[in-house]
């Protein structure tokens, strides 16, 4: 059965569109650090991971939350997954810029995970996410910390692998 949370084109849709627009402009304006392929990969990682969770724990057997206006898959849902992409790019861009080592990695991941939870809190208030089956925001923090750590690991491995190809 299709769940309808609301039908209006309002805060959640505007938040997704404005977020995408501002972040894409910011990517465009930032000094170029990566090649086209590297930039595409680090933007795609965010979409890849965000979409994995939204197409896994918000559908089928584990339907822990709904996205946007209805439980059906809408175009604005797709755009809200694209929205994750620029964040993963900023995450790795700043990581490279700050040239973090050792324990600073933990602090960096913690700060980004807090930021992600704050953005998620706004998203819940604006009606992008609708928690179900007792899902709580507390679960999101470890998920963010885990996937951000994975992204740093991916970055480190990709450095070694690409240098090995040269």
């Amino acid at each position: 059965m299709v769940k309808v949370y609301e039908r209006a084109f309002d805060a959640n849709e505007w938040f997704v569109l404005a977020n995408l627009l501002v972040s894409l402009i910011l990517i465009w304006k930032l000094p170029i650090k990566f090649s086209g392929l590297e930039t595409t990969v680090h933007i795609t990682i965010g979409i890849f991971i965000g979409m994995f969770f939204d197409h896994t724990i918000s559908v089928g057997a584990w339907d822990y939350y709904g996205v946007n206006d209805t439980s059906k898959y809408q175009f604005i849902d797709f755009l809200s997954y694209i929205m994750y992409g620029p964040y993963s790019y900023f995450f790795i861009y700043l990581y490279v810029k700050l040239n973090l080592k050792g324990y600073m990695n933990i602090l960096y991941v913690t700060l980004w995970s807090i930021l992600a939870v704050v953005i998620e809190w706004f998203s819940v208030k604006l009606g992008i996410f609708h928690y179900e089956k007792g899902y709580q925001m507390a679960w999101s923090f470890p998920i963010y910390a885990f996937v951000q750590t994975l992204q740093i690991m991916f970055y480190k491995i990709s450095l070694k692998m690409e240098k090995g190809n040269e």
Binding site: K33, F34, L37, E38, T44, F48, N165
Partner: protein, 160 residues
């Protein structure tokens, strides 16, 4: 038995992928894998939630099998196909490679449908075969575009 079988298939798929000689670089393979996975998720979600042509299991254990199929076995089979295809010199051998991987993907579809992971409502193996063919061809096209992209000079990993 179904979950262990899926894990074993995933293990062998990943193992073979790890050892094959790859045409694409690590980043190119990563990008193709992510884009194929994104396409596969949208494909299954649209078929199940929008069109209602298939039904995905509500059973938690079988749902893990579905995820292993969607996230690991399917995308890595496509990625393996792409790398082997571009390493294969002649046309006849390339067609054989294509046929082998199409059969593997269809085999996984048969595995999922016979084990109750996916129930076909308005769907059949012929349509699944067309979908799998589209994934293999899309993967090839994507890899071709990526191979043409020049590796620009970069300061990757050196700090700003």
């Amino acid at each position: 038995m179904i979950l262990p079988a899926a894990i074993v298939i995933a293990f062998y798929t990943l193992s073979f992928f790890f050892f094959i000689e790859k045409k694409l670089s690590f980043l190119q393979n990563s990008l193709v894998l992510m884009l194929i996975s994104i396409a596969a998720r949208n494909y299954t979600t649209i078929l199940a939630l929008q069109l209602k042509w298939i039904h995905i299991t509500e059973d938690s254990i079988l749902f893990i099998v579905f995820l292993i199929h969607r996230e690991i076995i399917g995308p890595f089979l496509v990625l393996m196909f792409i790398n082997i295809y571009w390493k294969t010199p002649s046309g006849v051998k390339r067609i054989t490679v294509f046929a082998i991987f199409l059969i593997c993907l269809l085999g996984m579809d048969i595995f999922s449908s016979t084990s109750g992971v996916i129930t076909y409502l308005n769907w059949n193996l012929l349509k699944a075969g067309i979908g799998n063919t589209a994934f293999l061809i899309a993967g090839l096209g994507l890899s071709k575009v990526l191979m043409y992209l020049m590796q620009e000079s970069t300061n990757y990993g050196k700090g700003l």
